[in-house]
């Protein structure tokens, strides 16, 4: 057998980052879940020894603060988040380069061009450059591993946090990784230095000067850094690229000269000039924004990019090929897909799971006719057909503020509701609720407490009584928290009881002042898959009215063989036995199956 012995491990980009950080000798890792960054901490929790603290933080801002604190006292630290998470952490992020780090502090920011699972697509490279920190941009799992290790060294060298920026295709792709000997960094300790660490204006002024002084030195370092690589091939065209775009260019136009930028900030100006001088035509291929392109043009170097490549969405090898062809540097290769006319398929948008506790509250809110400000989580699907019960959704925690704003603006014709998940409430909803109480406004906050951060795969939060690795922790009582804030009407309701949910939400929305209703059924997927006795449709009783189908439960479908109407049918394997459809069926046609 020709199989060679295995010397390389197949790692997800995120796993490679985790391993790289571990081998860099981190002692602390924290973050807040968010696609596509989440697996990094989860993998670290599996592979790191107990001496490394690997736990989730309540939100990204707190995570970054924790990272700065840990780094200042001498622990190499990894902080992870998705692109929009950095917006939440922005305040700390912008000042942290002035404070410095002592031990290395690396921030993984995972962008999601194309919005596979996000509320926007934004290019984090701007935020790295805005803060004036080095940005490392790996192009595959191997580089994820080695770039993170180098990032820790750079962080200590420049006394600054360092950003490692990935995208979905880097974080969520698997490729082989060779590992190297782990580092054993010398243990640094905290030396008090309030002149540097306390951001009073006077100290911040000197911090800012230190920061401005190191920028040109950092630029020189980037000039000569091996991660910025010139690959000279045909001189007819030169492409500057980094991240996933670099790989697509290599696939689509192997003959092109490429200047691969593994460091997106600072930009190696001299290297770029030299490269531009060696090629007849200079192009930039980059995902999302014209970040490199604009800066290169500002250097007075003629360059093209977004004229040929889209700014919206994710790049793909097709788009890169099309762009290069349109730019006139690549001949069409004539390779066509199979000429057949294939049959059409059907879209498969995500849906709430069978038995998801979020369905009933939205069914009820729609009946009540409230203005529903939604939030970010599985329950955002309450906006999709057939529930169609959401009017707004902006960013994590925004629902409460939006509701407060509507109330301040004097909306009276319908009740105003904020519908927010437990994890999201703790992440960013609490200040909004305090504001509502403080201003004595007439809103209802519906907290959809399913005991987990379901959307991102079921991470714990302070209301769960455990963290990523630590168990038996204090469990935050959300109802008690709301009362303490000053909410006088707080009710906990079982969302599997349609009548009770209806009564509770009706009462809450009629209440004058701030009211809170909290649902209390766990997610059926995480942390454990829940199943009860499944339900079935009595074909004799069902008259095909389709009312149950308005729940959107994926276990409910049609009996396609019934000769003259589409009566309902329940997929026994999917039904979790939540009983909600049985409660709303006007014919009482939905009944429990015999116990197994």
């Amino acid at each position: 057998m020709a199989t060679a012995t295995k010397t390389r491990a197949l790692l997800l980009g995120n796993e490679a980052i985790a391993l790289g950080a571990l081998h860099a000798g981190i002692r602390v890792a924290t973050g807040y879940p968010g696609t596509p960054s989440t697996e990094t901490l989860e993998y670290l929790a599996k592979i790191a020894p107990p001496s490394v603290a690997v736990e989730w933080a309540i939100n990204e801002k707190v995570a970054l603060d924790e990272g700065v604190g840990a780094a200042l006292v001498g622990a190499r630290t990894l902080v992870t988040m998705k692109h929009v998470g950095l917006n939440v952490a922005m305040d700390a992020w912008m000042t942290s380069p002035l404070v410095g780090v002592n031990a290395g502090l690396v921030l993984l920011v995972a962008d999601d061009p194309g919005m596979h699972s996000s509320q926007n697509e934004q290019d984090s490279r701007y935020l790295g450059r805005f803060a004036g920190v080095p940005i490392f941009e790996p192009t595959d799992s191997q580089e994820c591993y080695s770039f993170v290790r180098a990032a820790f060294l750079a962080s200590e060298r420049w006394d600054s946090p360092v950003m490692v920026r990935t995208t979905t295709r880097i974080s969520h792709s698997r490729s082989p990784v060779h590992t190297e000997e782990p580092d054993a960094p010398e243990r640094r300790s905290f030396r008090r230095n309030p002149g540097k660490y306390v951001m009073l204006p006077a100290n911040a002024r000197s911090g800012r000067l230190r920061f401005l002084e190191r920028l040109p030195q950092m630029a020189e370092w980037a000039e000569n850094h091996p991660f910025n690589q010139e690959e000279l091939r045909s001189t007819a065209v030169g492409v500057i690229a980094g991240g996933a775009a670099y790989q697509y260019v290599r696939d689509v136009m192997p003959e092109a000269s490429v200047l691969k930028l593994g460091i997106a900030h600072p930009m190696p100006e001299a290297k770029i000039r030299a490269f531009a001088g060696k090629v007849d035509r200079l192009l930039v291929v980059e995902e999302s924004e014209p970040y490199l392109e604009d800066q290169i043009r500002n250097l007075g170097i003629p360059v093209q990019g977004k004229a040929w490549f889209p700014r919206a969405g994710e790049l793909s090898p097709q788009l890169v090929r099309q762009g290069l062809v349109r730019a006139g540097v690549l001949a069409p290769d004539g390779l066509e897909p199979s000429p057949e006319e294939w049959p059409e398929t059907v879209a498969r948008p995500p849906v709430l799971c069978a038995g998801c506790p979020h369905a009933t509250p939205f069914l009820v809110l729609r009946e009540i006719g409230a203005y529903v400000n939604g939030d970010i989580g599985c329950y955002t699907l309450g906006a999709a057909p057939p529930l169609l019960a959401m009017d707004t959704c902006l960013s994590m925690g925004s629902s409460v503020g939006l509701a407060v704003g509507m109330a301040k603006a004097g909306v009276r014709d319908q009740p105003i509701v904020a519908a927010i998940g437990d994890s999201t409430f703790l992440h960013g909803g609490i200040p909004g609720l305090i504001d509502a109480v403080w201003n004595d406004l007439d809103i209802t906050v519906l907290i959809l407490d399913n005991g987990t951060t379901a959307m991102t795969g079921g991470q714990p939060h302070p209301g769960t009584g455990h963290n990523l690795r630590a168990g038996d922790l204090p469990r935050l009582d959300i109802a008690q928290l709301c009362r303490t804030i000053g909410v006088r009407s707080v009710v906990v309701v079982d969302p599997y009881d349609v009548g009770a949910t209806h009564r509770a939400l009706l009462a809450a929305t009629r209440y004058r002042g701030v009211s809170v209703a909290i649902t209390n059924r766990p997610c059926v997927q995480a942390p454990v898959k829940l199943f009860g006795r499944s339900y079935a449709v009595n074909a004799e009783r069902c008259d095909g009215c389709q009312l149950c189908m308005n729940l959107g439960c994926p276990a409910l479908g049609w009996n396609l063989t019934h000769p003259d109407r589409r009566i309902a049918r329940i997929d026994r394997d999917q039904c979790t036995g939540c009983t909600v459809c049985a409660q709303i069926c006007p014919q009482s046609a939905i009944v429990p199956t015999a116990a197994d």
């Binding site: 057998m1 020709a2 199989t3 390389r8 197949l10 696609t35 596509p36 596979h116 699972s117 295709r169 969520h172 792709s173 698997r174 490729s175 082989p176 996933a244 790989q247 697509y248 290599r250 696939d251 689509v252 793909s316 090898p317 066509e336 897909p337 199979s338 000429p339 057949e340 294939w342 059409e344 398929t345 059907v346 879209a347 498969r348 948008p349 995500p350 849906v351 799971c353 599985c378 057909p385 057939p386 795969g457 095909g544 009215c545 389709q546 009312l547 189908m549 308005n550 959107g552 994926p554 409910l556 479908g557 049609w558 396609l560 019934h562 003259d564 109407r565 589409r566 006007p586 009482s588």
Partner: protein
């Protein structure tokens, strides 16, 4: 057959959440790695847990750069679900071929046409020399666990690739939880032995008889309680400024009769006329229960 250590190819493994798509992609990648090849694999996570499509793109060869397969360069589709197989066909190269399970998972969006009861889902199995569709779940059941259907498909795929059975077995052992290794190896072997089968036949779907629905409202009897507004599954009633209900988009009425049944003031009349009105429920349907 190609020299395995020089071979390059682009594959897509496609399916829906919970079918083991990502795992299957890992197994393929591990096999190619064992031959010293370079490999890149893209996974789509995100919404998979909530019933969305899941796919893994695997590219392997002596040198591989990007993780995504370019249109027209896809060599193999391994699909655990029929509609997901079709989704990737437009990327298939002119020599590419497909191993597809005849499993059909019909999503809720397929069932939106409530008036005519049409199912928006590719129920027919396309007959094409390069599409091999078979009952992988049947093989999996035969192996001892229906969840091994994906690995049975890998078995079928393996017969078309130059890698050794041992390499596949080894990769399965590496990626499958210890207690499930035996049954997965059995499923793999059954899939590998699979030769051909008579073309599968689609599930029968009844054609609904066209029917006509009349809705009538005695406005003066309506006191604006809004019950019909809330019960109508099609949500086509609404209260107007005069606090009387009215119908919008009457063409969406399926004639279910719920509003008539539940209106406390008997203000609504639903009349359904159909060639098979009797079979459709006839008078019985309209009586309060």
């Amino acid at each position: 057959m190609n020299d395995p250590a020089q071979m390059s190819a682009n594959l897509v493994v496609a399916g829906v959440g919970g079918q083991g798509v990502v795992l299957a992609g890992n197994i393929i990648s591990e096999v190619t790695l064992a031959y010293g090849l370079d490999v890149k694999k893209a996974e789509v996570h995100g919404m998979s847990q909530r019933g969305g499509s899941v796919s893994a793109q695997v590219r392997f060869g002596p040198e591989v750069h990007g993780v995504l397969v370019e249109k027209g360069r896809l060599d193999w589709i391994v699909a655990f679900e029929w509609a997901e197989a079709l989704r990737w066909l437009p990327l298939l190269g002119s020599h590419g071929s497909v191993f597809a399970s005849t499993e059909q998972v019909i999503p809720p969006v397929s069932l939106r046409d409530r008036v005519e009861g049409k199912v928006r889902y590719p129920l027919e199995f396309t007959q094409h020399p390069r599409i091999r569709a078979f009952d992988a779940s049947g093989l999996a059941r035969q192996a001892g666990n229906v969840k091994t259907a994906g690995v049975a498909l890998l078995g079928a795929l393996s017969s078309a690739l130059p890698f050794s059975v041992e390499a596949w077995h080894q990769a399965i052992k590496e990626w499958v939880p210890a207690k499930a290794v035996e049954v997965n190896l059995r499923a793999f072997d059954l899939g590998r032995q699979w030769q051909s089968a008579p073309p599968p036949r689609p599930v029968p779907v009844s054609e609904l008889v066209p029917r006509q629905v009349w809705l009538s409202l005695e406005e003066s009897w309506c006191k604006g309680c809004g019950i019909c507004v809330n019960v109508c599954p099609e949500r086509i009633w609404r209260l107007n400024e005069r606090n009387v209900v009215e119908v919008q988009e009457v063409e969406r009425c399926t004639g279910c009769g719920l509003c008539e049944k539940l209106c406390p003031d008997l203000a609504i009349d639903v009349v359904v006329e159909s060639a098979s009105a009797a079979a459709w429920g006839g008078a019985k349907l309209w009586q309060p229960n």
